[in-house]
Symmetry: C2
Subunit: 216 residues, 2 copies
């Protein structure tokens, strides 16, 4: 019985490690997507677009493994909750990969024109940096179940929301001079970063709830 329990524990640890791996893939993806947008790098954009399939497949395999563990080990109470939560976290992380993919597609669509006008580069640099930071923290939250860091992720999300509002404020300013099409693309880019961060918050909240039994 001790042996069976230990195999099960190894399987749970393996799931947790795969979620961390997925987070690292997503972190690489958002970094490249941001760089491609800010430097008009078509090759990087194509790389992000191609990598998204890889992320989807990784998530798909992880989910199959989690369901298989539930079927074989028939966990109850906290172990079952942890596995169901892992399914939800993998869905959030996969969706973060989709957001990088969408960002890269706008970069590719506008190439060789820059998607972001010069005066907005600093906002998108800040959003990209915040998105990368929030992803790295999310990986640590998954690996260590650090509830303090889970709360930090919430605060980092507030930062991204603030940048997002600043972006929209610039677009609707009467002095906006880059036309409607650019404004539309920037609206979508802003929305993708915002959603990206929301999913990171969702992952952290799920860990927080698993550990404390309370909502953050």
């Amino acid at each position: 019985m001790a042996l069976i329990r230990s195999v099960f524990q190894d399987e749970l640890d393996g799931v947790s490690q795969s979620l961390v791996d997925l987070t690292e893939m997503v972190a690489a993806s958002i970094l490249k997507a941001t760089t491609s947008v800010l430097t008009c790098d078509l090759k990087l954009a194509e790389e992000v677009i191609a990598t998204d399939d890889h992320i989807d497949n990784f998530q798909h395999d992880l989910d199959a493994r989690i369901i298989d563990i539930i079927a074989r080990q028939q966990p109850v109470a906290s172990d079952l909750r942890a596995l169901v939560t892992a399914l939800r976290m993998s869905a959030d992380l996969e969706r973060m990969g989709d957001m990088s993919h969408h960002i890269a597609k706008i970069s590719r669509l506008r190439h060789p024109e820059p998607a972001v006008p010069q005066e907005l580069v600093s906002i998108f640099e800040a959003m990209g940096a915040a998105a990368e930071k929030i992803t790295n923290k999310t990986g640590i939250v998954i690996a260590t179940r650090d509830t303090e860091m889970a709360l930090e992720v919430e605060r980092d999300d507030d930062e991204i929301d603030k940048l997002h509002r600043q972006l929209i404020g610039t677009l609707v300013d009467p002095n906006w001079s880059h036309g409607v099409e650019t404004a539309i693309n920037l609206t979508l880019l802003g929305r993708y970063y915002e959603r990206y961060a929301d999913h990171a918050v969702s992952v952290s909240r799920r860990v927080y709830f698993l550990v404390t039994g309370k909502y953050a």
Copy 2:
């Protein structure tokens, strides 16, 4: 044993019925959200915004029930897959409710101005009607596991994507005369309808996969 099995079957049927109930709540929500946008109806917008909490709570309770069934009944193979799929469908449906909520918030934000200029009313009427149709079909797909209708949902989504492209085409037209702020709001509205329909497709695909073991 036959009795236990029958109780379990009742529980599975109950989950399926709750997913149908959730679909009906979401259908009512998107209909009201569309009407509020097209008729500048602030009261309806407020109603959609208030109802979203109700949808979230319903989904929350349903998920708790599903996890409890997994813990008590320890299902394997196809029953376990059906229950895990139910968790994912409830997440999709909850997210559709969020999209109605976002649409209603734009209606409220612009009130007493109309969010949609007169020449775009027909596109949004068509998107709203398609969203309602796709939701009703999704409810039938969940209730009956009709795979033909699941494929119809895919085709209805193509229709919404076509309307969405037509919308963006109008916004980026050099003759666009309603300014950047309206264009931004319409971009977001279009995105919300598109995402709404994507989640309906996701639900139908999950049912299709459960029934056939193949991807639609």
